[in-house]
Amino acid sequence: MNQKSNFYAVSAVVMLGILVGLSLFTFSYAQGASYLSDDPNACVNCHVMREQFDGWNRGSHQAVAVCNDCHTPHTFPQKWIVKGINGFNHSWAFTTGNFPNTIQIKSFNAQVAEDNCIDCHETMAINVHGSGDKETLSCVACHGNVGHGR
């Protein structure tokens, strides 16, 4: 936890600068402003997110969770920092075209998603993550399909 908040603190400063720079290019054209909303349509603005969007539309969470419920932290200001980082990363990657053909979630974002599973399903999944410092089993190892399938 401690390490995490340190990370967020440093990132907050860095992001401030980057966000400013960002607005100068692609960001606004790719409807970057809508990136800051929670509307899944904001994500499909980039057609590379189309598969996930389609999957999510058919998936078990369509009615209960939007992209950002899983992909950004549920707390302030972490939510906005992560949005900033990813908003920048995605725009940058999209503009340069420098990203893998098959997008793979990075471990940082995978952790954000798993924390969110637990946030919503804490009661149900108490035995999976346990209490205290018990190692948590990876939700995605068994529930790889819930977000948008594969």
Binding site: V128, A141, C142
Partner: protein, 401 residues
């Protein structure tokens, strides 16, 4: 109502009693963990046969009569049944003819009674192993118990059986570093593994010095000419393999993908508003929806069909392997009758040994190939190859007379 459920969850675990360090009675542990205990008790239920597994303890010797000759001269050829739920671990051992026609050592108790760790602490490791089973059996009352797998205070998974700890140490694996997911297989690997009794003290040992594949295990035994028994018909120095589930699983794709024994045999089930591990350990074939569907988003029939396709293929190769080994036995017996000497037969006998232990590795592994389909087929291919070569070698010797 919702409020109450949340509390249930928060209060978990709900401690009714303190569980003492040596407590073996599942009913006592069950006071704190009623839903795990409820499912644990169901290992007593007979849910029937699956095509190759299940909980009906039918005689394997009757169903696959080839086994009687394949194991000729060894107690397994007298009594060996399909295994069933953990509830019967001690009961079935006590009742098998294998403890009656042979004077078995205490080592047998390691995996069949919750009392084992206590007796080991009391008697010492070597002493426990070599003391006759019959001298100790009256002290055994609980077959399988929570204490086999859990620490009574933290409820963490723990290794309670020395043979597994020793074997892993020998391989340079530090069990204290095991992840939670690894422990979900390691607790099973205390018992669901190939074993033998080493030396005069009959010390329970796992033959893993060279690794976990059948070739590694054979090399381990060959390295010092170990023999379980002498084949009654051919005189070959034989190895018997028992339940190598952990070894077979570890060569398979599920293991390499991080899927543990508990994932399939103890899948999560809902109990009220929390999910708990299903402690009714059994065939996933009667539980496909919980055991497989969470990871494999496919219809139940399709998943069942996947298991059966793999098993039918394995079974057809098992039958071919049995046929080949029986032919080898016949040829060796005929050669002996024609006057071929033991010394001349040496190569044929070693081929018989190699063929038989490979067949046994797949035959005695309880998933009928499912835990590692390609590897099971590979092993049987080699078994058949060796058996036919044994037959040929014996025939050549006979023709030479």
């Amino acid at each position: 109502n919702i409020n109450q459920r949340k509390q249930e969850a928060v209060q978990f675990p709900l401690k009714v009693v303190e569980i003492a360090a040596g407590e073996l009675d599942p009913a006592v542990w069950g006071l704190n963990f009623p839903s795990q205990y409820d499912s644990f008790k169901r290992t007593q239920e007979n849910y029937g046969e699956t095509p190759y597994g299940g909980s009906e303890p039918y005689s394997k010797l009757e169903r696959y009569p080839a086994m009687i000759r394949l194991w000729a001269g060894y107690a397994f050829s007298k009594d060996h049944n399909e295994e069933r739920g953990h509830y019967y671990a001690q009961i079935d051992q006590e009742n098998t003819q294998r403890v009656q026609i042979v004077n078995q050592p205490g080592a047998c108790i390691n995996c069949h009674a919750a009392e084992a760790p206590g007796l080991i602490a009391e008697m010492g490791w070597e002493n426990f192993n070599h003391t006759p089973y019959n001298d100790l059996k009256d002290q055994l009352h609980f077959g399988s118990s929570c204490a086999d797998c859990h620490d009574p205070v933290t409820m963490d998974l723990v290794i309670t059986r020395p043979a597994f700890r020793n074997a892993m140490e020998q391989r340079g694996i530090d069990l204290s570093q095991a992840t939670r997911q690894e422990m979900r297989s390691y607790v099973c690997a205390q018992c669901h593994v190939e074993y033998y009794f080493l030396g005069d003290n009959k010390v329970l040992t796992f033959p893993w010095s060279q690794g976990l594949t059948i070739d590694n295990i054979e090399a381990h035994y060959d390295s010092y000419g170990f023999t379980d028994w002498t084949h009654a018909e051919t005189g070959a120095p034989m190895i018997k393999i028992q339940h190598p589930e952990f070894e077979m699983w570890s060569t398979g794709l599920h293991a390499r993908s991080g899927v543990s024994c508990a994932d399939c045999h103890m899948p999560y089930v809902r109990a009220g508003s929390v999910k708990v591990s299903d402690h009714w350990l059994r065939s996933p074939l009667v539980n496909v929806s919980q055991a497989c569907q969470t990871c494999h988003n496919r219809p139940e029939e399709e998943l069942t069909e996947r298991i059966l396709t793999i098993q039918n293929t394995t079974a057809s190769l098992l039958r071919q392997s049995e046929e080949a080994i029986l032919a080898a036995i016949d040829a060796i017996v005929a050669a002996r009758e024609a006057g071929v000497t033991d010394a001349e037969l040496e190569e044929a006998l070693l081929l018989h040994r190699g063929a038989s232990l490979r067949w046994d590795f797949v035959s005695s592994e309880n998933s009928t190939g499912f835990h590692s389909p390609q590897e099971s087929a590979r092993i049987l291919a080699e078994s058949i190859n060796l058996a036919r070569q044994a037959e040929l070698a014996a025939y050549k010797l006979q023709a030479g007379k």
